[in-house]
């Protein structure tokens, strides 16, 4: 039987220096953090990262892994400003390509549809077009309207966290909001999925939840079992964000070598040690979902 299950190290081995990677989730929600942490432990460099950014962007930028960041925002939501990202951005540490959230959506969709661009009005009249070097196009129809030609955001690899996956690459995502994980998967040559729960066969384990499948398994190249792998971000309904960890993480940015200190405290020892330092899987699975 087909088996796409890998270790985190094997999966991250699919990524090469200089590649463009997309990270699913949204801000501090359902980020494939175990995969991000493995990138931090690797020698990977010069990455172009596409994200609706949360701590994934903060950590990758602080670690100096990012050559270019393509994003709509970077925020921890309840902590609006992502301190590590901000520090790297203010130091001019990477090329910033800041897009309207909807333009990012459109660029991923264009890539998934194998189109060079999709037209939109988003971005007109702003500085986004200038900084991101995005061109306009005139409608060929009678309206002759000037529109933004949002170029396809093609990804070499997409990293996506899901609630459940099976060995074939079938996935289910149970949170109330799919975000744009399906578009990230479709825009990428290869998708690496991390999952809170791994089963042998989705059809046999969770047949009734087939409508929670956001993208088909042909897009999935690798499946990694990472219990609580979205920590410290939300993976609804399993666990909420770990606000005390996010606060502590943010505090590290106040020090000159803050990233290094955080890396040594939490990342360096491997994922099992990371989970233990945060109270273990049982405790993380009890983190309450936030109410807004």
């Amino acid at each position: 039987m087909m088996n796409k299950v890998n270790t985190t190290t094997e999966a991250i081995g699919l990524i090469k220096d200089g590649m463009t990677i997309g990270v699913g989730g949204w801000g501090p929600r359902r980020k494939p953090m175990a995969l991000v942490r493995e990138i931090l432990r690797s020698s990977l460099k010069d990455l172009t990262v596409v994200t609706y950014g949360g701590p994934d962007a903060g950590l990758l930028c602080a670690a100096g892994k990012v050559k270019e960041l393509i994003y709509g925002f970077v925020s921890l939501d309840a902590i609006p400003l992502e301190a590590h990202w901000r520090k790297a951005r203010e130091a001019g540490g990477f090329k910033a390509v800041e897009l309207d959230e909807g333009m990012l959506h459109w660029g991923l969709r264009a890539a998934g549809m194998r189109l060079p661009f999709l037209p939109t009005r988003c971005g007109l009249g702003t500085d986004v077009l200038k900084h991101a070097n995005i061109k306009t196009i005139e409608s060929p129809y009678d309206d002759r309207e000037t529109l933004v030609a949002m170029p396809a955001l093609r990804l070499d690899v997409a990293l996506i966290h899901v609630t459940r996956a099976d060995r074939l690459g079938n996935t289910q995502t149970l949170g109330a909001d799919p975000f744009f994980d399906d578009l990230f998967a479709r825009a990428a040559d290869a998708t690496i999925v991390s999952c809170d729960e791994l089963v042998d066969r989705m059809d046999q384990a969770y047949s009734a939840d087939a409508d929670k499948n956001l993208f088909e398994r042909s897009l999935v190249k690798s499946v990694v079992h990472t219990p609580c792998g979205a920590h410290p971000t939300i993976s609804a309904p399993n666990y909420g964000w770990d606000m005390s960890h996010l606060k502590e993480y943010s505090g590290f940015a106040e020090h000159d070598d803050g990233y290094k200190q955080y890396y040594q405290a939490y990342i360096d020892g491997g994922e099992a040690a990371y989970l233990e330092k945060n109270g273990g899987v049982e405790k993380i699975n009890k983190l309450a979902l936030p109410a807004f």
Binding site: P80, E90, A91, E101, R121, C122, G123, T126, F180
Partner: protein, 268 residues
Amino acid sequence: MNTNFSLAELMICAASEVWRHNGEVLANGIGPGPRLAASIAKLTHSPELMMTDSEARLIEEPVPLGPKSGPLAGYTPKYSGNADFSRIFDIVWRGQRHVMIGPTQVDQYGQTNLSCVGSYEKPKTAILGVRGLPGNSINHKNSFFMPNHSKRSFVSGEVDMVSGAGYNPKRWPNEHYPIGMELNTIITNLCVMNFGGENRAIQVISLHPGVTFDQVQSETGFNLAKSTEICETPAPTKEQLEIIQYLDPHQFRNSIIKGNPPGSAKSA
């Protein structure tokens, strides 16, 4: 007249007016002040408005803010539809939304900045990123909630990074604005303004109790117009204050303006 209210509550009630006669649009208030304002609009003069639970669902009864514990223990929101992010973009692009946000900078054209202060390549201060501002600004109604009216928030010239588009003729040949683009109302801790001046210039339409036009002008980095019908911003009604208390028992509104000042000089 009720004088026992805070300046934040005055702002919230003034802000709730922007959604009057909007029809069945999504009233989207980002942050505690705007969200309370949209909720008041829906619970009083405009029940036809659509709203979300500020997460991923549509609701018909505005959801009280924050943890459903303490005074909100046992509260469970009831959902009427889906409002995940993909759906929100669909609504934005269809133009059936009136959003209220708090950008870091606003200029004379109503252009807004949520990206960075200083140069784009190496900013003095990185903020959040442009977020949805480019798309919001040109697709539907936009209002701004600015609890710190000063020359740092209402800047001269143009904002440092134009994130949300405005009525800047240099950026729009022949003043041909995209279909549905509308900058609507600005509510600050000093006054209420709209874009009803000559050539869509920003004009003051009401002053909060005890505030003068000259004071507003001196705190603003560009010349303001003055509405011929300028008046005092109405005080919140008893009903509005009760709704605010019901929706915000955790008192998030007390942190909107530094020091949570009173809304009327008479209650100072």
